[in-house]
C-alpha cells in the first residue's frame, strides 16, 4: 500500500485526469443522491405537512409566523360547524444551551402549542403521555437523535427546562424540526397575548376541495392564502401520489445512468493505463503492489471528490438560503448517506476494474501471472 502510494505520487501527472473525471462523476452522484432526498422532503413537506387546513400569512414560513385572526371570523361565518384549532409556534433560539441554527439537518427548530385530542394529527397513543406531565413536551425522533434524548430526559428549550414525555415519528419535515407542548401550557411559557395565536388548522374530518373552499369563503385575501394538503379531493390525492412516484422514478433513472457512466469511465481509463500496468508486472510488481496502487488512486479520488462535493454542497446551500430561504430542505445527514453510498459505488467499480485487469491477457501474449 505504502509503495503503491509512493508510485502513485510519482505518477500524479498521469493520474490527474483520472482523479478529475472520477471526482466529477462522484460529485454529480452525490448531488443527485442529495437531490433525491431533497425532492422527497419537498414533496412531503408540501403535500403532507399537517392534516387539516390552515391559513398562513403570505411570505411567512408556515406555520411559524402566521397570524390570521382577521380572516377567521369570515371563515367561521361561512362554515359555522367547522372545527378550527389554534396553534402557537415559536422559533427556538437554543436547545440545551446550543444554537440549533446551523447548516445541516436543522436550520431551525420550532416549539409548538397544540390541542391534543383524537382527530388531531399529533394525537396517538404515544402523545397521550403528555397530559398530566408538568412542563412535558414531545420531540421528534430526529431531535431525539441529535440531542441524544429519550423519554424521561430533560431538554432545555430557550432556557426553559422541559421534560421529554414522548418521542414521535413523522414523515413531515416541519414536524421533524418541532418540539410540541400542550396549547394551554405553552401560553404560560412564552410571551404571547391571550387573544393571539400563530395559526389555525381544520380539525374536522371533512375533506374539502381546495378551490371550492376558496371560492365559497369568497373573501378578499390579499395578504393570506389557504394552504392545506387534506383539502384536496380523494381523486387529487391519487394524482399527487402518481406525481410523487414518477418524480422519484425519474431521479432513480438519472442516478443509475450516472453510475453507468461512472463505471464506463473507470473502464476506459483502466484500458488506457493497461500498458503501464503490464510494464510494472513485467518488472516484478505483484498483485499486492498493484492493489496498493489502485488503493492509492481510490483514496485520492475519494479525498478530492468529497472536498469537491462539500464545496458544491455549501454553494448550493448558500444559493438556496439566499434565493429561496430554504437551505433547510437539503439535509446534511442525507448528504452523508449519499457520500457513503457513492464511496461504495466507487470502491466496487475500481475493484471491478482491478479484477478485470488481473485476469486479462496482454494483446498477442499469454496471461501475466
Amino acid at each position: 500500500m505504502m509503495y503503491g502510494f509512493k508510485i502513485f505520487i510519482k505518477l500524479k501527472r498521469k493520474f490527474f485526469p483520472l482523479i478529475l473525471i472520477l471526482s466529477l462523476s462522484f460529485s454529480l452522484l452525490l448531488i443527485v443522491s442529495s437531490l433525491t432526498e431533497k425532492l422527497k422532503f419537498s414533496i412531503n413537506s408540501y403535500y403532507n405537512t399537517i392534516d387539516g387546513g390552515y391559513i398562513v400569512k403570505k411570505g411567512a414560513i408556515d406555520p411559524v409566523f402566521s397570524i390570521v385572526d382577521s380572516v377567521i371570523p369570515v371563515f367561521l361565518q361561512k362554515y359555522p360547524d367547522l372545527q378550527l384549532e389554534p396553534e402557537i409556534w415559536q422559533v427556538v433560539s437554543t436547545v440545551d444551551n446550543r444554537s440549533p441554527f446551523k447548516n445541516g439537518l436543522f436550520s431551525f427548530i420550532t416549539i409548538g402549542g397544540v390541542h391534543l385530542h383524537p382527530g388531531n394529527i399529533y394525537y396517538d397513543s404515544l402523545l397521550q403521555g403528555l397530559s398530566g406531565v408538568q412542563n412535558g413536551c414531545l420531540i421528534s425522533e430526529s431531535i431525539a437523535l441529535r440531542y441524544a434524548k429519550k423519554t424521561g430526559d430533560t431538554i432545555t428549550v430557550n432556557n426553559h427546562e422541559l421534560k421529554v414525555s414522548g418521542i414521535y415519528k413523522t414523515g413531515s419535515f416541519y414536524l421533524d424540526c418541532a418540539i410540541i407542548m400542550d396549547f394551554n401550557v405553552i401560553r404560560s411559557y412564552i410571551s404571547i397575548a391571550d387573544d393571539k395565536v400563530s395559526s389555525y388548522y381544520i380539525s374536522s374530518d371533512t375533506i374539502f376541495d381546495f378551490n371550492t373552499l376558496k371560492n365559497d369563503i369568497d373573501i378578499n385575501l390579499p395578504d393570506y392564502e389557504l394552504k392545506n394538503a387534506n383539502v384536496f379531493s380523494e381523486d387529487f390525492k391519487g394524482v399527487i401520489d402518481t406525481v410523487k412516484n414518477f418524480s422519484l422514478t425519474i431521479l432513480v433513472i438519472i442516478f443509475v445512468f450516472i453510475i453507468m457512466i461512472f463505471i464506463n469511465t473507470t473502464s476506459i481509463i483502466l484500458k488506457e493505463y493497461e500498458s503501464d500496468i503490464y510494464i510494472m508486472l513485467r518488472e516484478g510488481w505483484g498483485r499486492k503492489d498493484l492493489f496498493g496502487l489502485y488503493f492509492s488512486i481510490l483514496i485520492a479520488a475519494l479525498f478530492v471528490s468529497v472536498i469537491t462535493s462539500l464545496i458544491l454542497y455549501e454553494v448550493y446551500s448558500l444559493y438556496s438560503k439566499l434565493i429561496f430561504a430554504q437551505g433547510d430542505v437539503f439535509p446534511f445527514a442525507h448528504f452523508l448517506m449519499a457520500i457513503i453510498f457513492s464511496i461504495a459505488s466507487l470502491t466496487v467499480s475500481l475493484l471491478y476494474g482491478l479484477i478485470k485487469l488481473s485476469v486479462k491477457s496482454p494483446v498477442g501474449q499469454g496471461g501475466i501471472s
Binding site: K10, L11, K14, W285, G286, R287, G366, G367, S369
Partner: protein
C-alpha cells in the same frame, strides 16, 4: 542459469480459429552464454521468449531452470505467486518498445522494480554509478518521451543491470535503433553476459548480431541449433 524447455506447446485459441505457435519444442539454453533466436515472423520466437520469461504460462510441457544444482520446475498449473517471485528475482526483460513508463522520470523508471520495497541509499548510489557507466546520468531527471530511441534502450538496459537478473531476455532490442545505437546495446548485453556470467537470450532479425549459439525456429518448431 540454464533453461530446459521440454515439449513446450503453445496454442492460441480464438472463437473462430486456433493457431499453434509452438509445437513440442524441446531445447536447452545454456547458462552464461549468449543465445540468439532467429526465424521468420510467426515462427514462434517471441512466444518462446515469453514462455522462458514466465510472462506467458499458458503452455503445455515443462520449463526447468537450473543453477548450481538447484532446479525449479514450471508448467501451466504452477501457482502464480511462485511465478511472479521467480520473474521478479531472476529474470530481466528488454523489449523493442523499451518498456518505459512515459510519466515517470528516467530515474524512477530505472528504480521501477524496486518501488515495491524501500529504496536504500546503496541502490541509489548504484543507479548513479550504472547510469554514468551507460552514459545516461545527465538524463536521470528527464522523462522518456523526450529521449531518443537509443537513449530509451540504454535506460532499459540500466534498469536490467541494476536488477542483476540471472537471465536476460531481449525481444528485438535493436529493432528501432540505428546501427550505432544497436551496436552499443548489443555491446552492453555482451558485457553483461561475459563480465557477470549471465544467461542472455536475444530474439532478433538482425543478422549482424552474433552469439555463442543460434537457435532457428520455423513454423513453431526448432529447425536448427548451432
Amino acid at each position: 542459469m540454464t533453461i530446459h524447455c521440454s515439449g513446450i506447446t503453445r496454442e492460441y485459441i480464438s472463437k473462430t480459429d486456433s493457431i499453434v505457435a509452438l509445437s513440442s519444442v524441446s531445447l536447452t539454453i545454456q547458462s552464461a552464454l549468449m543465445t540468439i533466436i532467429r526465424g521468420q515472423s510467426g515462427s514462434g520466437k517471441s512466444t518462446l521468449l515469453n514462455i522462458c520469461g514466465l510472462i506467458d504460462n499458458n503452455f503445455d510441457g515443462t520449463l526447468i531452470f537450473e543453477k548450481d544444482g538447484i532446479i525449479e520446475n514450471f508448467n501451466k498449473v504452477t501457482i502464480t505467486n511462485k511465478i511472479s517471485d521467480f520473474r521478479k528475482n531472476k529474470i530481466g526483460y528488454i523489449t523493442q518498445d523499451f518498456g518505459l513508463i512515459n510519466f515517470l522520470t528516467v530515474y524512477d523508471n530505472i528504480l521501477l522494480p524496486f518501488h515495491t520495497k524501500p529504496v536504500e541509499k546503496q541502490l541509489i548510489d548504484k543507479v548513479n554509478e550504472l547510469s554514468r557507466m551507460i552514459g545516461i546520468f545527465h538524463l536521470l531527471k528527464r522523462y522518456p518521451e523526450s529521449l531518443s530511441g537509443g537513449e530509451k534502450q540504454r535506460v532499459a538496459l540500466c534498469r536490467v543491470f541494476l536488477k542483476g537478473p540471472d537471465i536476460l531476455l531481449a525481444d528485438e532490442p535493436t529493432a528501432r535503433l540505428d546501427k550505432k545505437n544497436a551496436d552499443t546495446v548489443i555491446g552492453y548485453l555482451k558485457e553483461l553476459q561475459k563480465q557477470y556470467n549471465k544467461t542472455v537470450v536475444i530474439v532478433t532479425h538482425d543478422e549482424s548480431v552474433q552469439g555463442d549459439r543460434v537457435i532457428t525456429l520455423k513454423e513453431g518448431e526448432v529447425e536448427s541449433i548451432i
